[in-house]
């Protein structure tokens, strides 16, 4: 039954793609909606028979491809289904101009099918293929954005994502050479650790880190996520970066992870967390601020993976998909109707529903207690010890400072803009979902801690504001040579190679 969850969107993608040939473009939005929502039909049956695995075509495990649903990937599947349903409803109708409508729908369906396929697969090569389908669809979706510089961002994204894919498949090849299998259960049975497997794991982890936008390898992420249209940014930040994180979870569940690898991942997770926050505080572009928060929040997910706590990482990924998707949709809606992404010109005063949605989602991302963010954080901090727990707490305060800044600018009274009702209700629904989901999963109130962290965030915000930190322009720190795309890509490629070599030399 599980493969059907991918089959429905895929059929609809193919059917939508032949509509222009038959001159029936006007039906493409109906097929699109059916494709995006039909996967929900399978979900009750998957939840009923959990954990559940199936070899496609009823072959035996050695010759077939295995797909499975268990406690870990069910959360990823849930996140995918919920956020893509909201994005589908947001895009449905006349979001895209008539000329590119059909193509955008096909690409969105392919993205949906690719992500679901990556999340259910238990076979390294199958996982790689579906992740590639999702990535290729997302390059194109970034490229069709109306924003200036979108194609440049899409090109950069394509180059680095493809680089990561090639290195990842090299790693898979080495694993296949040494064990003889691609199926993860069989690899686990027949595994004998050796130098070659270590090399393969290093290659796989480094490429997945690049794909998921963790700190030193985050350079493509803010551009790609901030130049895309609002619903696409929501999908990219909420879901597409989760696919490589799921790959890392699969690897940690299959292979024994050495203490050194674990420490490296832990360090990178914290670096990513604080770097993302620091950069987000300095941003003046609303979408870039949110994009840097993705770098920071992926640090939390990586923290769960590094502590060998995959359930915590999966819960945090679900939480992040909900609130970051909602934030991109709500802030993106405002930015679209004001026709600018400059924080100082935007305001949510003209729409009360959006204001409530953004405040709810900001509290959720800051980890305030009845919201789902607090649940994710409590799950992740289970394995943390000593001062690292305080570092996590500090990260939460940093996130709150940055979102205080966002709300401070947005709450100022500026000129009015008409925002259609549908576009305000969808972010509000996501906002209430983070609240309801949080109450359902983790009904604990921690008023003292939350109030003190909000108060500290406010104090820090006014301190930083009076010190003039928000006036610093980040553009001054970008080297002059980076104005040509080739030199920029070369520099980042060098950084990636250096990091890969460093990891290789240390893990051998």
């Amino acid at each position: 039954m599980i493969p059907l969850i991918v089959a429905f969107p895929l059929i609809m993608a193919f059917l939508t793609s032949i509509l222009p040939a038959l001159r029936r473009e006007k039906f493409s939005k109906y097929l699109f909606l059916i494709g995006m929502l039909s996967s929900w039909i399978i979900l009750p049956q998957i939840i009923e028979n959990l954990p559940f695995n199936e070899i496609v075509g009823n072959w035996n495990r050695i010759s077939g491809i295995e797909v499975a649903a268990d406690n870990y990937n069910l959360l990823f599947i849930m996140a995918e289904l919920i956020l893509s349903a909201f994005v589908a409803l947001y895009v449905y109708g006349n979001y895209y101009p008539k000329k590119i409508e059909n193509k955008a729908y096909v690409l969105l369906l392919l993205l949906h099918a690719g992500l679901l396929g990556a999340f259910i697969s238990r076979d390294l090569f199958n996982y790689y293929i579906y992740m590639e389908i999702a990535s290729v669809a997302s390059f194109a979706l970034v490229g069709i954005s109306k924003e200036k510089g979108a194609r440049r961002a899409a090109f950069k994204y394509a180059i680095f994502s493809l680089l990561a894919s090639y290195i990842f498949i090299l790693g898979i090849g080495i694993i296949y050479l040494k064990t003889g299998y691609l199926n993860l259960a069989l690899i686990k049975e027949n595994l004998r650790m050796s130098r070659e497997i270590n090399v393969a794991l290093t290659l796989a982890f480094t490429s997945l880190l690049l794909k998921s936008g963790i700190f030193p390898l985050h350079f493509w992420l803010p551009d790609a996520h901030s130049k895309a249209d609002a619903p696409i940014s929501a999908l990219l930040s909420g879901l597409v970066v989760k696919a490589p994180a799921y790959g890392m979870i699969l690897l940690t569940l299959t292979f024994p992870i050495g203490i050194f690898v674990q420490r490296t991942l832990l360090t990178l997770a914290f670096l990513s967390m604080f770097f993302g926050i620091a950069m987000a505080i300095l941003q003046k572009n609303s979408e870039r601020l949110l994009a840097y928060h993705t770098v920071s929040q992926m640090g939390y997910v990586l923290l769960g993976i590094a502590l060998l706590n995959p359930l915590g990482a999966a819960y945090y990924a679900l939480a992040h998909a909900l609130f970051k998707g909602g934030l991109f949709l709500s802030v993106g809606t405002i930015a679209e109707h004001y026709n600018t992404r400059d924080l100082e010109k935007l305001s949510y005063r003209s729409s009360k529903l959006l204001a409530i949605a953004i405040i709810l989602l900001s509290l959720a991302i800051g980890g305030i207690s009845p919201f789902i963010g607090a649940f994710g954080k409590s799950k992740i901090s289970e394995g943390l010890y000593g001062f690292l727990k305080y570092l996590l707490y500090l990260g939460g305060i940093g996130t709150l400072v940055s979102f205080t800044k966002l709300n401070y600018y947005l709450s100022k009274r500026k000129e009015k803009a008409e925002i259609p009702r549908k576009k305000t209700i969808i972010p509000l629904l996501l906002g209430t979902l983070t609240l309801v989901g949080g109450i359902y999963l983790y009904p604990h109130l921690n008023i003292l801690k939350d109030l003190s962290s909000i108060a500290m965030a406010f104090i820090l915000f006014y301190l930083l504001k009076n010190l003039g930190v928000f006036e610093i322009s980040t553009e001054a720190f970008i080297p002059e040579q980076f104005s040509s795309l080739g030199k920029e890509i070369n520099a980042y490629m060098f950084l990636f190679t250096a990091l890969l070599l460093l990891f290789l030399l240390n893990f051998l």
């Binding site: 039954m1 059929i11 059917l15 040939a21 038959l22 199936e54 496609v56 075509g57």
Partner: protein, 140 residues
Amino acid sequence: MKMSLIVRTTTKLISPFLVAYSAYLMIYGHLSPGGGFQAGVILAVSVILLITSHGYKRVRKTFKFWEVQLIEGASGGFLVLLATVGILFGGFFYNFLRGGDFGSLLSGGIIPLFNIGVALKVGAAFTFMFYILLRWVERD
């Protein structure tokens, strides 16, 4: 973008043979070396040869843009649909047409159908990609 008379005559002669070879590969893919992807590539080459010798504008009149687009999407949909029909018989991608003697054409069940679907999909997709690139090059 028209080439000399010799090239045009030769490609016209070769193209039908390539199509026949591709049909052999896709139908007998489960019994002999070959299969859907190879058959599809050869199918696409038969059209691409004509494009290089006769030019895009001439070929577009015979193999129309919308036809190629239709074959590409429809064969992709057919593949997934065939896999989904297997659910009724026991599982996704289940081979529900088993029959025939060992080594005969019918022994493959749905595999020849899959090969035909993949071949049409790959062939149409390659041709489609060439069409789009050439439309961009020759747009003036």
